[in-house]
Symmetry: C2
Subunit: 362 residues, 2 copies
């Protein structure tokens, strides 16, 4: 878990995908400026919400669009231009899901800075509203902004310059991703704060549904579909995506507890304070150390509490178990790629995505 | 305001539209049962959310699908079958917006019975959760369910058996409706709880954006578009829809204050308690009676308070003003229809919709 990030964009396949990402940024920029222009006619406040939405979509690593384009170009897609709106749609989907997830998690920050709900909360509090009312206003703005991003994703695909039946297939793919994410989000909601605790398997399923499908599996499949890939290639990128995504989420869990706060921008007491049901916790629940650990969950854990929790999680074997599990999914992804008939450059690209996912430190 | 509802479905155009509404119900039923089947594979809880979503979409008056079909058949659309998914999409859009609006308004009931958030809140409270936590869980479920309904609307239109370019135009129409509703919802959020109060004009604009566009204007235009209507007919149904919708909203405001609770199923102290910024209130704010009225807003008004507020709203002329305004929009709609070159049966249908909108008592 300590090897530095091996490579950065542009990836192995060369310049095409990088050009594609510029096209994606252009598409998103047009989407937001069009929204702002139209909103401006309805009032300054509405244009402000669109501006805030654009900010929410900025600064991301464009992981999902990059995967769409990697699969597309890697499987012989000639011109990235028609693929760009589809790639951009997955970024908008991500923006929407993060906005609504933050409302559900009552988060007002993301990576240390106020998120959209946080910005609107601060503004309302500055106007003299009580903190509770201001928080609700912030969350209301985030619900509305999320709806705009979510429907924007459909609109971008519907308007892409692709054959009509392909657009429909891609909308189905987007829909499957939304369907999975909503199911995962609901499981996450159900797991929090209830006495009966989910099994490790249920926690893994939740995180796969909530994140891995829309972040890895669906973008790769969308790119492959646009390239006119064979059923076999489609299945392989789907399997690889699911395994990479699950490994990514497991590493996320590890970083949330054992990561370097300065690098991750995420407090290592956060998951503890929330009493978040992560794979680490689900494993630890089966161990004799659980009694001591349970005392440290929820409330407002100190740094000492967090350090103690880390020791207990190492002692009971939870850390090693989750590291092994991440490695196991990574191996499955590697095997799927190695045995596949996918073009070499695409295999290299996806291997690079995989290694960055499991070796990242933030 | 006391004439009984003049007519019910089926409307003047005869059986076609009624058949269409049965097709709409069939489309929605398939949408939900497909969702439940797919969700069931991911867990019983998720299938339960889909069931709750189906319940949320049931029992409605199907106003929006009826308008889509009225415009479609009235302008010569031959077969209601391909129009049904588009009509159903506007019902799903309504379901989605109501779900998210209830979260934003912190409502856990609709027409006297628990809404989706209320059902999930009650269940969580029954599992021993605090009322606050249970409320948040209810709202989380409603956010997720709303996302499923919202994206479902796009999916239904994208999958309709219509020419590809027509489907795109209809998706644009849906998108314009979402865009307007989101803008109206944001204005509504901004108007509540802030010291500077919106003008009457701003309140009217808010309610037009939030409801009239997606409920009347867009469904009529969608039906007209599918029938291949002329630009002129498209403009006329749009204008009529906007005016009918605005009149409808004004009547809604009146019923919320002066309606018969037994008929409306809505407490006449509700709008007062929320301190809701309705056209009645926006008008009254300009009058000398305002000082007395302001004392009755917010908090927990009694029936006596509500009766006193009603007297003050009559005394200052707010009631008459809003009644006149509703009548003014109704007249505009009548004029637009009378001067139009729309087929007679469609004009009769829309006049009937209009009269029911302004004469309704619930």
């Amino acid at each position: 878990m300590t090897i530095p990030i091996a490579r950065q964009y542009p990836p192995a396949s060369g310049g095409t995908e990088f050009d594609g990402l510029r096209l994606v940024d252009g598409t998103l920029e047009r989407f937001f400026s069009d929204g702002m222009d139209r909103a401006d006619r309805l009032g300054a406040g509405y244009a402000g919400l669109w501006r805030a939405l654009r900010s929410a979509a900025r600064g991301g690593k464009r992981v999902r669009p990059a995967l769409v384009l990697a699969a597309y170009t890697g499987l012989g897609g000639p011109d990235p231009a028609p693929a760009a709106p589809v790639a951009a749609a997955f970024e908008l989907l991500h923006t929407a899901l993060v906005l609504h997830d933050d409302v559900i998690d009552r988060d007002f920050k993301r990576r240390g800075v106020p998120n959209l709900a946080g910005v609107y909360r601060a503004r309302a509090a500055g106007q003299g509203m009580s903190l509770e009312e201001a928080a609700h206003r912030g969350q209301s703005a985030a619900i509305i902004a999320g709806d705009l991003a979510l429907t924007g994703a459909y609109r971008l695909i519907a308007g892409a310059e692709l054959a009509a039946d392909l657009r429909l297939t891609l909308l189905d793919e987007l829909d499957s991703a939304v369907f999975a994410s909503a199911g995962g989000e609901l499981l996450d909601v159900e797991f929090s704060g209830t006495p009966e605790q989910p099994s490790l398997q249920e926690v893994l399923r939740m995180s796969r549904l909530k994140t891995a499908v829309y972040s890895f599996e669906a973008p790769l499949r969308a790119g492959a579909l646009m390239a006119g890939a064979s059923a076999d290639a489609l299945r392989t990128v789907g399997t690889a995506g699911r395994c990479i995504g699950t490994a990514y989420q497991l590493v996320d869990d590890l970083l949330g507890m054992f990561g370097d706060e300065a690098e991750t921008g995420k407090s290592t007491t956060g998951d503890l304070a929330e009493g978040k049901c992560t794979p680490l916790i689900a494993y630890a629940r089966l161990c004799p150390e659980w009694e001591q650990l349970a005392e440290l969950l929820g409330g407002t854990p100190t740094r000492q509490d967090a350090a103690r929790a880390r020791r207990l999680l190492e002692q009971c074997g939870a850390r090693e178990y989750v590291e092994d599990l991440a490695e196991c999914y990574a191996s499955r992804a590697r095997a799927a790629l190695a045995e596949s008939a996918l073009p070499e450059a695409l295999v290299a690209d996806l291997e690079s995505v995989l290694e960055r996912a499991v070796q990242r430190r933030r």
